[in-house]
Symmetry: C2
Subunit: 358 residues, 2 copies
């Protein structure tokens, strides 16, 4: 079993963690290494559930912060082991997981070992299966078996945010918009009714749609409405009687699931629409007192997070949550994933500045 | 092995042939029965190639007519054995193959046995694999090995035509029209370019397209331009970078393959278009002297055939060809296939009237 040295630099630790492959559903080796590394630390109570590890300080502070990061990655594509590279003079660590999100996990592990008596109590969470279906997510499982572990006054997810604070996240809804026609032999098309042709106005509305940018608690959330799949047709000589367009709407966190569905029904008025998946967003929650202290300690101007992350889970539990981690989110899932070493160090400094007992 | 009694009525013979299932690629039992039935007839030279049977008179007439019918059907769907039914007082034979096209084959077999000394020499052809890919078609095979057997001054295909003469057939071309975009995470759609949205004008052009009706040699051919398949999309959270629409154009026989392709390129100007399949149509050929005699003998007003049939094969060989058979072509391939008994008798009378030596 590989072992992790939590006294190494956060950069070296990032490299070590990335070089232990942990594609979703194959996190056990890394989870074992993390468990072994934190179990020896007297100031942490360690709890393990599957490949999710929770490590808590219990120093009797008035407030508690949850700091979490997922340990799984999307599949490899010849991008491990990691390499140190330089791009335009900037030193980077290249390879799967460097951005999404093992650099964040490495910083968390280093500080979990170091901060024996932090200014607030901390619940560290490293969890499995974030990159796959929500019902497999380690936090979904943990929320059922140990909801008490989610208690806190503030939460930080180490998702890549270019080492800036990204508040909240957009919601995410997917729906199928359907057309129906009448099947016929295409040699006598006038007997049928072409369901694919009827999709024209759906695609016109999509291509003419101008997504809004919505200010929520001082941050601007950029929305998006997109067809992500289209399918129709039976055979090369048959007028199709059915066609469906799967539409994905990313909505600002001032809307709940009902608002989002209702907006989609307005846009596609006159068409059959079925919602197949919805995740509400999260308001940035930056007005919470702990959030304000965190922003002051870290510096910089908070920005909105566009993608859905597990901050929404904490938000739904009433725990204000933000994303804060090294790496450019645009490079998440790219085969060319790479993180600037300076961002790893910056996040380490930011978290330490806020969490250290003055 | 079931045996066929060619002295039975054409209605009874239709029933007997339909009750020997012969879905494409499974024609051997029926082909064996046909071979056995015609091999004993002294006035016919019989040639067999796979499950295709050719039976020729050789009476030294100045002219020769080819009369052909395929013996395969589309797959069964609980619609055999056949049943005699009555619809609005009209007696029908119901079941797979009754329309497409075993009633036509039965009439041909009966007349093949009966017409020992016809007014023109006759080449009868009963062939396999018409309902599947063109390269499997028994006539495609025969045209390679025995092109001499296709020699003739006129040809009649027994495809269902409601016992009327249907001249020529439309051509058939299929093309893929493609759009390209830029893949991106759907949470940051503005970084990508949605290839499905770009399909909107393609579908608008299709839904606004008004197909022409084109007069060719006195018959009106109704064209059609239809999307028969559409596909695009990668995952529920990805902006798609590619989408394709398969379009089927049925074109009047005044156009050749180049004309048809060029028309499609005009309609979809600005888009990438790839032709994947093309079959030219056939002009009705009703001005041929034998055709005129045939029309006069059968009576009625010739109509255009919309679907592509093997008449195009004869037309391409320079042999004028028409469709003439019992059954409503709209019921071809329907699970509810059924042929009016009166049409079977009508086609039998029509062919006999023309082919008998006066």
């Amino acid at each position: 079993m590989p072992s992790l040295d939590l006294s190494a630099s956060s950069i070296e630790l990032t490299r070590a963690i990335c070089d232990i492959p942990s594609v979703s559903d194959d996190e056990q080796t890394l989870a074992d290494a993390i468990t072994e590394a934190v179990s020896g630390l007297a100031h942490l109570d360690v709890y393990r559930d599957g490949d999710t590890i929770v490590a808590r300080t219990d120093t009797g502070k008035a407030q508690r912060v949850v700091i979490a990061g997922h340990i799984d990655t999307v599949p490899l594509n010849d991008n491990l082991p990691t390499r140190f590279i330089e791009v335009d003079g900037q030193p980077m660590l290249w390879g799967r997981g460097t951005v999404d999100m093992k650099a964040g996990v490495a910083v968390q592990l280093k500080l979990a070992a170091e901060l024996v008596d932090p200014r607030v109590d901390i619940t560290w969470m490293w969890y499995d299966h974030e990159e796959v279906a929500a019902d497999l997510n380690g936090l979904t499982r943990l929320a059922k078996t140990r909801p008490d572990l989610f208690a806190g006054d503030f939460a930080i997810l180490g998702e890549p945010s270019n080492a800036d604070i990204e508040g909240g996240c957009n919601g995410n809804i997917r729906a199928i918009v359907r057309t129906a026609g009448v099947r016929a032999h295409s040699a006598r098309a006038w007997i049928g009714e072409n369901a694919i042709h009827k999709v024209a106005p759906i695609l016109m509305r999509l291509s003419e749609y101008r997504p809004k940018t919505v200010a929520v608690d001082g941050l601007d959330y950029r929305e998006g409405l997109n067809a992500v799949r289209i399918a129709g047709g039976i055979a090369g000589n048959v007028i199709p009687d059915a066609c469906e367009v799967e539409v994905n709407y990313r909505f600002a966190p001032n809307k709940n699931a009902d608002d989002a569905e209702s907006h989609m029904r307005d846009v596609f008025a006159g068409f059959d629409l079925e919602v197949i998946d919805v995740s509400e967003g999260a308001r940035p929650g930056l007005d919470a007192p702990l959030a304000q202290e965190f922003i002051a300690a870290v510096g910089g101007v908070p920005r909105p997070k566009y993608g859905w992350t597990d901050v929404a889970r904490f938000s739904a539990l009433g725990v204000p949550a933000v994303n804060y981690g090294p790496g450019d989110p645009h490079l998440a899932h790219h085969d060319n994933e790479q993180v600037p070493l300076s961002q790893i160090e910056s996040v380490e400094r930011g978290l330490r500045a806020w969490l250290s007992n003055p």
